[in-house]
Amino acid sequence: MMSVSIALFAAFGAPASATAAIALDVSSSKTLSGTAGDFVTVNGTIANTGPTALSDVTAYLSLVDTTAHMPVDLEDWSVEKGLYIGTIGAGAKLPLDWKIHFVKSGDYALSILAIVKGENKPIGSALTYFHVAQKKNLNPGAVLPVALGEPILIVMFFLLLKYRRDKKSA
């Protein structure tokens, strides 16, 4: 598992392939924070800096929990985990936007990666760091009065019945 995380971090910092000539940039803030349940948008660009068009380009996200040192399954975090770009013309620059849902509290590092057909390694952007604070709402949907109150009411009802019976028999 540790080697997987190390490999992913290595991928984040990997320099762009000289032959692919793809540049990935994150234009939104490099550090984002919020509370579990919040949504943030990560903006970036993918540019073909070379003289020829590149085909079969796919951009995707990679997220690592920097506290647990484990990659994170993007299920629930982002609806669109990857974007198939297809062909990107010479000198063209395309925007990349990902809506990220903060699911769990903790510290995370996110990178945009791209793979190009024929290349043997991915191209990575700079890292964006997230700090997700825990959501502290003890009464979601005003459920607490019911969730606590009803069992208490039932106990009180039976105590009252017992009291009345004891009083009657005395």
Binding site: A36, G37, D76, H101, V103, K135, N137, P140, G141, A142, V143, L144, V146, A147, L148, E150, P151, I154, V155, F158, K162
Partner: protein
Amino acid sequence: MNKLIWKKDITAEIYTWKSALWLLLTAIIYSVTCYLLLTNKELSLLDQTEMLWLLAKIIIGASLLVAIIDASSILTVEFEQETMEDLLISPLSVKDLIIGKFLTVMTVWALMYAVAVPYVLVSSAGSGLGPAFLAYIALYGTLMVGGFTLFVLGLSFLYRSFKNTLTTSLVFYLAVGIPALFSATLKANPFGSIISVANPLDAVFSSLDNILVDYHTALTANATYLASVAGFVVVAVVFLAVSVKVFDRHGIVKE
């Protein structure tokens, strides 16, 4: 006469603190479930309609379990404590006895439903599905608990033993419950489709999905599911009638 049987049995069910503990435990199960579901909904991980569907399945599932256990003991106890003969030589018909016992289990279901109502209201707030949720839970719960109770009472006349009745009833409950929890993919093949149509619990869960997730709240939109559940109740009535005939033929002292 059946009123006397009902009064005696329901008093035994809730008279003491210990005998009514199941009601408190039911409320605690609903509390924990609702709290977990609403916490997830707040994180937007769970759609509200999906949450309501899960809650509906838990209410129906828990009520059926309690009703089955209750119905398994309510008649067999008369055989095991040898009070059945006394009951039958009193001015009480087998029909009165069955109606009295049946009404007791239905009262237990009514209490469980009453406990569930506040949880349904709080979890469905803002969805506009609260009235439909309550009405369909009442309808399906009554039909399913009624059907299972009739079936278990029929088994009680055949077995006259709590242990055997309970074991068979629970296995039957599992037999209808497990396929009902299969994913749509598993029900897609012809064999799965047949089981799905014939299984009353599957019909209830599918109908609740239709109502709470797809907003098809009209009775006509759920007619096929209702027909499946009603068919189960009819089969349970016939099974009970046959069991009573067998009991009449063998008499109180089984040879």
